[in-house]
């Protein structure tokens, strides 16, 4: 292959080792005397053979071809790419957290259970709910768990409610989670600003409504100010309100989903609570519920009797188990540490600064990019390439050009109800200088669009690779290494 980074398989040399193992110090038995040969491998698996330095250089080179929040500004909308505090990484590696077995006797893991219990309490308070389970390991897992709880609740009341109302501006996981939960999605058209059309909503709710799933602030970064009326419409019909907490970073200490009328809420600890995104996980998607739904929470439930923490599995109405153990504990440790670092005033300041930063970007960018909504946004803003379209420039091209300027692009083509959308979420951890530099880059690209569109269409030029052929990748998939 032409001038590209070697694969680890290509640098492999027979006989090289990256790890010395201690010699086996128990009496050696012939393997086939212990396990019949038909169960054994005929030849060893072809794993790489590299020295330790080869290995470190390989992965260091790969890391150099990647970009994280520590590398630079990463305004990926709806993903809350805030700074990941380093001390929280250290804490998660303490032996008392990283080296405890999930099936140890509860008496030997009181610190871990206390941490889970306290985090549940904190999130309960932040969201204005009555109880929280920390078990779901991703936002989508939280959605599924929440919908299962809603379904179990209706079932316990003897009601066969099978429809979930989802606005067309919702994250794609909302309808997918409903389907996996055996529920039918009813998609409703939003108003142009992404808000709920109350007449349409009134028209679709009924005795088959299980829930409405809502993101608020919406996926357009706008607060749904009709929320009280929406809650009333859904509740009057006997349905429940599900809160997609992807955008919680805008509202901490200001407004709580529970007070808005939501019955179930999921959080994304990797967004709002600063745990690393990991390049696509691990995250965590705990959910909070109102009192009537507590009996249906997944098992085990962390308990505290005033003296000892424990795990309760004897919950007859529970939806059951949703994870092999108790969720992504290591991630919960980091989120706990974050909440303790910030305190109540700090969390409110987080949301204020996140909203301030997004509005600042919007106020500067709307001079040169089309801003479809003429109002204040919450923690993220949407602009589009409408003004650049006459020059043959699409949102995708602007995103690719931003790479050359050293930025991770915003989320593009989402929300789907806005044409050529770019959703910019700066987060509160970015300074004014960083925002100003990004705004300058965006303005420079807008200028290029009129003067020199070719440079945008040919972007990126300064990355490890140029634009890639995604169609060929999907048509004839090469998904593993072959000699």
């Amino acid at each position: 292959m032409k001038n590209c980074k070697s694969l680890i398989f290509e640098i492999s040399k027979p006989g090289r080792l990256a790890l010395d193992l201690p010699p086996c110090d128990v009496p050696d038995c012939a393997i086939d005397s212990l396990i019949p040969s038909q169960f054994l491998r005929n030849s060893p698996a072809e794993l790489p053979e590299v020295s330790q330095l080869d290995l470190m250089r390989h992965y260091t080179k790969l890391s150099n071809r990647n970009f994280g929040v520590d590398s630079g500004f990463y305004p990926l909308g709806s993903c809350t790419m805030k700074y990941n505090p380093k001390v929280n990484e250290d804490i998660a590696q303490y032996a008392g957290f990283a080296e405890i077995h999930p099936l140890q006797d509860a008496k030997t893991v009181q610190g871990a259970l206390e941490l889970l219990y306290n985090t549940e309490q904190y999130l309960t308070e932040i969201a204005g709910m009555d109880a929280v389970t920390m078990q779901p390991v991703a936002g989508s897992h939280g959605e599924l768990t929440g919908l299962k709880i809603i379904r179990a609740y209706h079932r316990a009341k003897g009601e066969a409610r099978t429809k979930v109302i989802v606005p067309d501006s919702a994250h794609g996981t909302n309808p997918a989670s409903a389907t996996v939960c055996g529920l039918e999605t009813v998609e409703i058209k939003s108003n142009e600003d992404g808000s709920i059309n109350l007449d349409i909503l009134r028209g679709v709710v009924g005795e088959d409504t299980a829930a409405l799933m809502l993101t608020n602030p919406s996926t357009l970064g706008l607060f749904e100010n009709q929320i009280e009326e929406i809650a009333k419409i859904v509740h009057d019909a006997g349905g429940l309100l599900y809160y997609d907490g992807a955008n919680t970073n805008a509202i901490m200490g200001i407004v709580r989903p529970g007070d808005m009328g939501f019955d179930v809420v999921h959080f994304n600890l990797h967004k709002t609570f600063s745990t690393p995104h990991g390049g696509g996980g691990p995250g965590a998607g705990p959910i909070g519920v109102k009192k009537e739904l507590i009996p249906f929470l997944p098992i085990p439930v962390v308990t505290f009797d005033g003296n000892q923490f424990g795990l309760d599995e004897n919950r007859p109405q529970s939806i059951g188990k949703i994870h092999s153990f108790y969720g992504n504990f290591g991630i919960i440790v980091r989120a706990y540490a974050y909440i303790r670092s910030m305190g109540p005033d700090g969390l409110r300041q987080v949301s204020e600064d996140a909203v301030l930063n997004a509005n600042y970007c919007l106020s500067q960018l709307k001079e040169v990019y089309y801003a479809p909504f003429d109002r204040f946004c919450m923690h993220e803003c949407v602009v589009t390439a409408k003004k650049q379209k006459p020059y043959g420039i699409k949102t995708l091209d602007i995103a690719k050009r931003l790479l050359d300027y050293g930025y991770h692009p915003p989320t593009i083509y989402f929300p789907m109800i806005v044409e050529e959308a770019m959703m910019i979420e700066p987060t509160e951890t970015e300074s004014k200088e960083t925002l100003d530099q990004f705004i300058d880059a965006m303005k420079a690209i807008a200028q290029e669009a009129t003067m020199n569109p070719e440079i945008i269409l040919n972007a990126p030029q300064h990355m490890a690779v140029r634009r890639l052929d995604e169609t060929a990748a999907a048509r004839k998939p090469i998904v593993k290494w072959k000699v």
């Binding site: 001038n3 090289r16 193992l21 128990v26 169960f39 054994l40 491998r41 794993l47 590299v50 992965y59 071809r65 994280g68 993903c79 700074y83 990941n84 804490i91 008392g96 080296e99 077995h101 999930p102 009181q110 206390e114 989508s140 794609g172 997918a176 389907t179 996996v180 607060f223 929320i227 009280e228 200490g253 200001i254 995104h277 390049g279 696509g280 691990p282 939806i319 059951g320 188990k321 994870h323 153990f325 504990f329 991630i331 303790r340 670092s341 005033d345 301030l356 600042y360 204040f376 991770h408 004014k432 990126p460 990355m463 490890a464 690779v465 890639l468 999907a474 998939p477 090469i478 998904v479």
Partner: protein, 448 residues
């Protein structure tokens, strides 16, 4: 008060508000109805400095009995294997761990390649054609495999061996209840699936047969035979495997499995009280376009240079929305990276050696323990790194004694199998030395 994660000074906030054209930050929240706002501080503990936080967290951590200070013979789905030092160094390069999903491939080539190499290694050890880039954990991977098999076969019945991890069985039930899937269990005899019972229950309605090997008891199942029985009825065979065991055991692909899943925690991921872990998921080429999760593919750029992208996205929830068969999206990428670095670090020879040492040491421990009066053999089939013995005293009592001696004893099987009261499932990994095992044997001898 200032917070080190928040850069703005009050003066900067002022100048930004001026630029926006508002007096105060409260104006930016004008859309939020007054009635639903909270007008008091959240009831949370006050903020801690980094130094105070570290102290507080150390205190909390020290309230747990950890596996550095105690010898661990507990397994049952979470394992104390050695983690090579390089793993932590690689995954803590912040270009990896502070990134997100590789939506923009040009700026994410490093991670995409690393995940593609991970997929390749998972295919190699399992003997399959295609692997995805991660699932939540072993238990949910089993359920996703079952749901995929039902979707592809257009059948709604799953047959699961009772020797599959009881937690995995429970997770499937949680998912199944809302999808009208039915679950049939197959009994075990002498620690492995009762093949005669399987033949009785399997039928043309069966979407998949799920077998774990080494199974929950550590025993090795006859995947090949079970696959033949499943296939004869047009059912898929889902094999749940311990990736470490594949250093010496035949790959499930070579034995006829259609889908191979499992818990990847053993491959360089801390035991961490049950998570984050790694579900791995591999299948035959025929099933590739039906698989859940992210898949990385190789392609070329405009100049013909090799590159990598997220591919086959037409399967995924952000495109399929309510047509999706799985709602899984990004999940445990960094754990997949750990597993790839682990496999590269132990390498071809080390991978075989780790598995061999697990086997030899478990065998030694089993031999020594079953010489003790008060320890009885339960099964006679071959096992890998875990085995079952029956004690003459309650397991809880024995474990409480062992804990006092700095040993974390095995899993009490009475919790999961009512007729296996007094049976304990012990695990011996390559990390235990002969002296460790001898200590266990001597202390067990003392209490029994």
């Amino acid at each position: 008060m200032a917070w080190s994660y928040l850069p703005h000074t009050d003066m900067e906030r002022r100048s930004m508000l001026d630029a926006i054209g508002v007096d105060s930050v409260n104006s930016l929240f004008e859309d939020i109805p007054e009635k639903v706002r909270i007008n008091k501080p959240l009831n949370l503990p006050h903020a801690l400095s980094e130094q105070e936080l570290a102290k507080e967290m150390r205190k909390m951590a020290s309230a747990n009995a950890n596996l550095q200070d105690n010898l661990c013979f507990l397994g049952a789905g979470a394992y104390d294997h050695y983690i090579p030092s390089v793993v932590n160094h690689v995954i803590h390069r912040s270009e990896f761990y502070t990134a997100y999903t590789q939506y923009q491939p040009e700026i994410s080539q490093g991670y995409l390649q690393a995940l593609w190499e991970y997929q390749s290694m998972i295919c190699e050890i399992t003997g399959m054609d295609v692997a995805n880039a991660s699932m939540y954990d072993g238990g949910t991977a089993v359920t996703e495999a079952a749901m995929m098999a039902c979707a592809v076969s257009n059948r709604k019945e799953i047959i699961m061996a009772q020797t599959v991890h009881p937690h995995y069985q429970e997770i499937f039930k949680t998912y199944a209840v809302d999808r009208e899937y039915t679950l049939k269990n197959v009994n075990f005899a002498n620690g492995i699936m009762d093949i005669a019972h399987l033949e009785e229950v399997v039928s043309k309605s069966t979407g998949a047969v799920i077998i774990q090997s080494p199974n929950f008891f550590g025993s090795i199942e006859d995947i090949k035979k079970i696959a033949e029985i499943a296939h004869a009825q047009g059912a898929y065979l889902i094999a749940v495997v311990d990736p470490i065991s594949l250093g010496i055991l035949a790959s499930p692909g070579s034995l006829g499995a259609d889908i191979v899943v499992g818990e990847g925690q053993s491959m360089g991921i801390p035991i961490s009280f049950g998570g984050p872990y790694l579900g791995f998921f591999a299948a035959t080429e025929k099933l590739m376009r039906k698989m859940p999760g992210r898949i990385i593919g190789q392609t070329t750029d405009q100049e013909g240079k090799r590159g990598f992208v997220l591919t086959l996205q037409a399967r995924e929830q952000h495109i399929r929305r309510d047509k999706a068969t799985s709602n899984i999206c990004s999940n445990e990428a960094l754990c997949a990276l750990s597993a790839a670095v682990y496999l590269a670090a132990v390498g071809k020879e080390g991978y075989r050696q780790v598995a061999t040492q697990c086997l030899q040491k478990a065998q030694y421990a089993y031999g020594e323990l079953t010489k003790l009066a008060g320890c009885e053999k339960v099964f006679t089939v071959p096992f890998f790194k875990e085995f079952v013995i029956r004690l003459t005293k309650p397991v809880a009592e024995v474990n409480a004694f062992l804990l006092g001696e700095g040993i974390i004893g095995g899993q009490d099987l009475g919790k999961y199998y009512p007729n296996m009261k007094d049976c304990v499932l012990l695990c011996v990994t390559e990390k235990r030395s002969k002296a460790d095992i001898d200590k266990l044997v001597s202390r067990m001898g003392a209490i029994l």
